[in-house]
């Protein structure tokens, strides 16, 4: 399923894949496309198995030549598996934490000169003059060099694995309707994958300054309204990873 999450005259934030990877026997994941004045940015485009589905949807919104950037939240294969073909098809530059630059050639990347490292403290990436995406560090959540992407126009925060839920996919639902009952879908994953409560608190400090309408993770439902606050509060207090060893 694809859905426009935000739209105005020169800006669109589109969910182009939602829990599509059932065929892949892999983890269902979400992919996003941001378009600002006909400049496209792909977030975590996913493995090769998803490429046909996503490509067929992306092309409804923007021509491939206009996708200038691909931003990766971390190095996992569910994110970088199809990177090679996306780079080939779009001609886009790739941004990923500098920690993971050296690993990318293992995905058979043809042209590493188009891959850029993101510094540890994050950065603003200019998409077109007057419009930049904020790259926010989320180290050890779950990987060192993990980043979030914040779009200041739509006020959507892409969090990668933070807030990710493992769920049976539902066709009609997209947003968390009742956070308290949804907790069980995210709890196990966060306790096992997220490094520590300290890391979570550091991340919360980074993002609590932002005006957030939607939190868009890479797996499971999206958060909006009061569930945004509830998620942040929940994570701020969550004991996980090394806290539980």
């Amino acid at each position: 399923m694809d859905r426009i999450l935000f739209e105005n005259k020169n800006h669109r934030f589109v969910l182009i894949g939602f829990a599509e990877s059932k065929e892949e026997q892999g983890i269902p994941s979400n992919q996003y496309l941001i378009i600002h004045k006909s400049n496209g940015v792909l977030l975590d485009p996913g493995g090769f198995g998803l490429f046909p589905i996503l490509l067929s949807r992306v092309i409804k919104h923007i021509s491939l030549k206009k996708i200038n950037k691909i931003i990766l939240s971390h190095q996992d294969p569910d994110i970088c598996g199809g990177l090679n073909i996306w780079m080939e098809m779009t001609g886009a530059d790739v941004h990923i934490s500098r920690l993971w630059l050296r690993f990318l050639p293992h995905y058979d990347i043809k042209d590493m000169s188009r891959v850029y490292g993101i510094p540890d403290e994050g950065q603003d990436i200019e998409i077109t003059s007057g419009y930049s995406l904020k790259i926010i560090p989320a180290h050890f959540l779950h990987s060192p060099g993990q980043v979030n992407v914040y779009d200041p126009v739509s006020k959507i925060l892409f969090t990668g694995d933070i807030g990710a839920g493992l769920l049976p996919c539902s066709e009609n639902k997209l947003f968390v309707e009742d956070f308290d009952s949804y907790v069980q879908c995210i709890e196990l994953f966060h306790k096992r994958y997220m490094a520590s409560n300290e890391a979570l608190k550091k991340w919360v400090k980074h993002i609590e300054k932002l005006d957030i309408n939607i939190i868009a993770p890479q797996h499971g439902f999206l958060y909006r309204g009061e569930s945004v606050e509830k998620l942040i509060e929940y994570l701020f207090n969550l004991k996980c990873g090394v806290d539980l060893m």
């Binding site: 739209e7 005259k9 490429f51 046909p52 067929s56 949807r57 080939e88 098809m89 043809k110």
Partner: protein
Amino acid sequence: MKRVNFENLRQNIALKGGFVIENLLKDLSLIKGMRISIERNFKSEYFEKSSFLIFLNRIEMILQQNIQLVKEGSIDALNLISLLEREVVDKKLLEKETRILRRVVLSRENILNWKIYATGILKDLKSVYNFDAFFFFFDEGKKKKIYIFYSHKFREKERQIIKQNIKHKLKEILKNNSTEIEEIYISKTGLKKDYKQCVVESYQFLPDSPEIGGITGIVVLAERKVHRKELEILNSILSIMTLIVGSSKALSKAISELEYYAGHDPLTDLYNRRTFEDFLRYEVSRAKRKNHRFSLIMIDLDNFKYINDTYGHQIGDTVLKSVADILEKSVREGDLVARIGGDEFVVLLSETNLEFAVKVAERLRKNLESNRICTLNGDIISVHASFGVVEYPTHGRDKEELMMIVDNALYRAKDLGKNIVYVPSPEEIEKIIHKQRKDFHILQKAIEEELFFPYFQPIFELSENRITAYECLARIRDENGNTISAYRFISLAEKVGKAKDIDSIIIKKSLKMKEERGIKEKLFINLSSKVISDSSFWDYVFSLMKQHSINPAEIVFEITEREAVKGITDVQRLIIMLKEKGFGFAIDDFGSGYSSFYYLKHFPIDFVKIDGEFIKELKPEDPKSTAFVESISLLCKRLGIKTIAEFVENRETVEILKFIGIDYGQGFYLGKPQPDFL
């Protein structure tokens, strides 16, 4: 056409193209690895390192080219599919719209409830394009109105924005005048919208009828820029709605007009008799329920016949119109003025007592009297009238009683010298009511039980001395089995609106007998004035004619001269209609003081029945007594109209009539009315 899933098609191409590119990329990365190992480890004595590298470069270049070709080919194919999809979407839209158009059937019901109808169609159109509002602006001469149909139950804020934008769009036409707005919701669900602009597309239509022009418009609260494609959709929806609503509204106006004239007198725009009687019935029941009084004024012009005879009926019409205006202007809002006959009017004053009603009647009388009408050749005409006034429940407790008493009061006013207002005295009422109540009771019973039946009086062709026709006369058989003339009941029936029933019964029975007896002579049938423009009555008569397979040429309808003069236009219409069907037509009581030679010339009349008064007075030695009959005979011969003399009571009269040249005769001397044909 098989339904194509464009999404799947794109995915297939992306999958195959992507698969090839992926493999080519892997080969490239293999080549890269080979190049690195050759660079590092090449120690052959037999081969040049560079030739390997040349070979690898060549492969690498071919791979690159192939990647490029597959990539471009896939992207082209994907774009082409998207383009096709858009075209098909347009085609689907067209199919949807066509389906909606097919449902557009303008039934009478749809037309009269155009708002409900439009709501239904707009619901359908919502599936084609999600508009936010639709508006219709109608300019019907004096009335300007905007109808706004909202697709959802919007908040006040959105509604204000939509209204402002519509008004802005119509500002040229509205020109700061306040226009009535009616708001209608297509669905009851609410909707909050995050929108950036309000787009209004509109279309003006001006059908042939000048009275109905309008503008339809569609409103979208757009969250982003509206594309050219969408505007095209909007405009196609607009043209559908314009077609539907424009035509249904125009037709609805036409039907409203028809309905208006069914209840109104086309000449004066006042209510007609039928509507007045409905109102009166309703007013009686309301007054009974609420226990209050109301009054009725009946008005009959005193000198109308003179005006008609002197200046022609066009001036007559002008006079009637001006009388109607004066009456309307002289009463309060809510009082009802109707024209119930040629020069007869009534005013219904609801919740008004007698004392006040008399004041109103006096005022009407004075206003009429002081009114002056100027004719084309500069003559000044004044018209005056006699008035009868009654009050409910003092003078009558139901519609029929009130009409009876007020009619009597009016004729008392005439007898007392005209141009006065008359209120019946209690004794009078007692007398009338007593007598009429008895009559009324008999009348009602006679109608219910069909106690009316026809008597037939033969009409002789004088030169041949043989029966050529019969006149049907109404009789009643009372409870004792005695036959009495229906004459006095007919005038009562006319007053209380039952004349049609009597006419229907008599016609039914006469035609049945005519068929049963195999009578080929003509039948002359009298019509009361109330059925002249009653189409349901005529439908009934024509169905009887079919049922008894009677040739219309064997039926002649009679109307008295008095009635004919009163409603010249209606009578003319009736005669023309009857002539077209092959019926004959006669004017009865000709010369009884209302003669207007005008209609002899202009109406296609077959027979003139000369008033019996002239026939009774015929004396061979008195040339004066024959002058009138002679001149009528001469005139009718010239105009090709046959003459019939009534009241032929002796042999002498027959001789005189023959001598003058009158064609037919009827009377006691020639043959009395009988319950059967001779």
